[in-house]
Symmetry: C2
Subunit: 354 residues, 2 copies
């Protein structure tokens, strides 16, 4: 019925061997590559392989010790632009290095995370890359440490991307980018434009990424001898909706400010829309800046001033270092730099009325 093979079940190496009139080992050898096999046998085997459309079972090969290595990537939600960028970097580098790439979404649930890591350990993944910040609680450290240890004891390795590092000695690699430094530079820039009251639309208070950015915000103020008004720093999450909601509330409350820096470009996007909805013009009425430099940032109107995070590079680096190290080496900590991208959403304040 089917066109090229009458047998419905997948054929094994023995089937091929039978058809070629040789032994299984011979088939294995010609398929394997560089083992000496006579030319005529080789062609006969190859013909059989072609005729049966045979591919060796990768799992069986793996178990026999010659499998395609696998790498796992677990994140919260691939839909976030920065996650997608990292995923892309991971995937590209993984395939470049001849690895398969398994992906799991946790939907932000820590239990799923643990389950996934367990599955990846069962899959004998060469490394598992855990992405996305969170709270740095002792529960987090314990849980993650446990994952790191079991991965390491299974000859694998855990990589933390943009996540709080564990205590010293844990068999993990952590790769972060400079949240505080980036936010510092960005806010310093905004302040230098003459703004004095700049609103900060932050993330969850216990989220380390959010904290780092908030610290940068604070530090930049203090470096100028300013003490930021606590009323100006708000908390939400990293979504577009959070930015939209927060901005609307602020506008209703009639808080006074001339600039807003958002913890995330997504948050900035939501805030921008809220600003527009309120009839305010950016940057004429209020300046706005984001963080992440997602591709869309430049198509916002006005184009968003933000801080660039090399997400794709981060992903690539994650797999490179994960694959390049011995499982049990204790923690390595990489910090990638970020830099401000000035576009059109932040303006200098015109007059100093105060």
């Amino acid at each position: 019925m089917t066109r090229k093979s009458e047998d419905t079940s997948r054929s094994t190496i023995r089937d091929v061997a039978a058809r070629a009139g040789v032994s299984a080992s011979t088939v294995s050898r010609v398929l394997g590559g560089v083992y000496p096999v006579s030319a005529t046998t080789r062609t006969r085997v190859l013909r059989a392989v072609r005729e049966m459309d045979y591919v060796a079972d990768a799992r069986a090969k793996a178990i026999a010790g010659v499998g395609t290595p696998t790498l796992a990537f677990v994140l919260e939600d691939i839909t976030g632009p920065s996650f997608a960028l990292m995923a892309h970097g991971v995937e590209r580098e993984a395939t470049r290095l001849g690895h398969l790439c398994l992906v799991c979404s946790t939907e932000g649930d820590a239990r799923h995370e643990v389950e996934f890591v367990e599955m990846m350990r069962a899959q004998r993944a060469a490394a598992v890359i855990l992405v996305g910040g969170g709270a740095d609680t002792v529960e987090y450290r314990d849980r993650t440490r446990r994952m790191a240890d079991s991965l390491a004891s299974a000859g694998s390795r855990l990589v933390l991307c943009g996540r709080p590092p564990l205590g010293p000695g844990a068999p993990v690699t952590v790769i972060e980018y400079d949240n505080e430094g980036g936010a510092y530079a960005l806010v310093a820039y905004v302040l230098a434009q003459g703004h004095h009251r700049v609103l900060f639309l932050g993330g969850k208070p216990d989220h380390t990424t959010a904290q780092g950015r908030e610290r940068g915000y604070l530090a930049a103020h203090r470096a100028r001898g300013l003490e930021p008004d606590p009323e100006l720093v708000l908390h939400g999450d990293f979504t577009r909706d959070s930015g939209h909601r927060l901005m609307r509330q602020v506008l209703e409350r009639g808080l006074e400010f001339t600039a807003v820096v958002a913890a995330t470009d997504m948050v900035a996007a939501g805030a921008l829309t809220a600003l527009h909805e309120a009839g305010l013009s950016v940057p004429d009425d209020v300046s706005l800046a984001g963080y992440d430099d997602i591709p869309f940032a430049r198509d916002l109107h006005p184009a968003l001033t933000t801080v660039h995070v090399p997400y794709e590079e981060l992903g690539r680096l994650a797999v490179r270092t994960a694959l390049g190290r011995e499982p049990n080496t204790p923690d390595e900590h990489l910090l990638l730099g970020t830099h401000v991208v000035v576009r059109n959403s932040v303006a200098a304040v015109e007059e100093a009325a105060a």
Copy 2:
């Protein structure tokens, strides 16, 4: 040196058995679940398992017939918002159904695609989902047909998402969304606002998705007794940059039009920016519409009128139907509906001067 296990290499079921003082099968049984094992033995085994932090090798289980099934998702670039949405749907549904999810980026290279499919076949993936349109050439059909056949003959199944269907009888499932219908409805809406010269920023001329949308554009005109000016339909690709470049060129050439519909929200985003850069206001000076309804569409300014495509649902549906069918059933063709989402980027034309 490590904390919980002194042995560096992963332990096998036999190691656990030895430590618990039982046979390997017994360990297998307690881990397996519902096979009768005496309580004391069970606890002893479980303790050994815990102490050694043992997890059974999934590949070995698979080969023995009780593995976690795997599903593969191959796309061009996970970075595209609509791809990311689909990927998310696929991933969620796959894990809901207890499958692991392998992902591969082809970077648009057909050879990579074939290679990936081959690898997935070797992995004995339960199904492979191929995403993203392309040219409907005989080369495409042959190549894809070949992939479908070999997958089917290996007990797996090919799913085409938003791709040209193969000839009849191929063992594939194709899931599409209504490009022509969506574009038709959208353009009809734009036309109904009084626009007569609407620019179409299309994709590659041989890309079936682009063609479908272009057909809708044309059909909507004809339904109103209009014959669209050929000068008004432009070709590029589905990227933001394409939209930006095309729009700029059009503006330089001084083409006359009052509305533009882009083949993609990304294209629309680029076009919008170009429009802004030229000092034009949307929708006051020119109306603009997109296609896809990516999350960002509503944060563009003005919020983009577009057509909604249920990408995430598409992904979920893809895995559900892929997993729910027998490998060799010939083609099934699902067409998902789309609908126009009216936001603020299209205005009615004020006066009829002509």
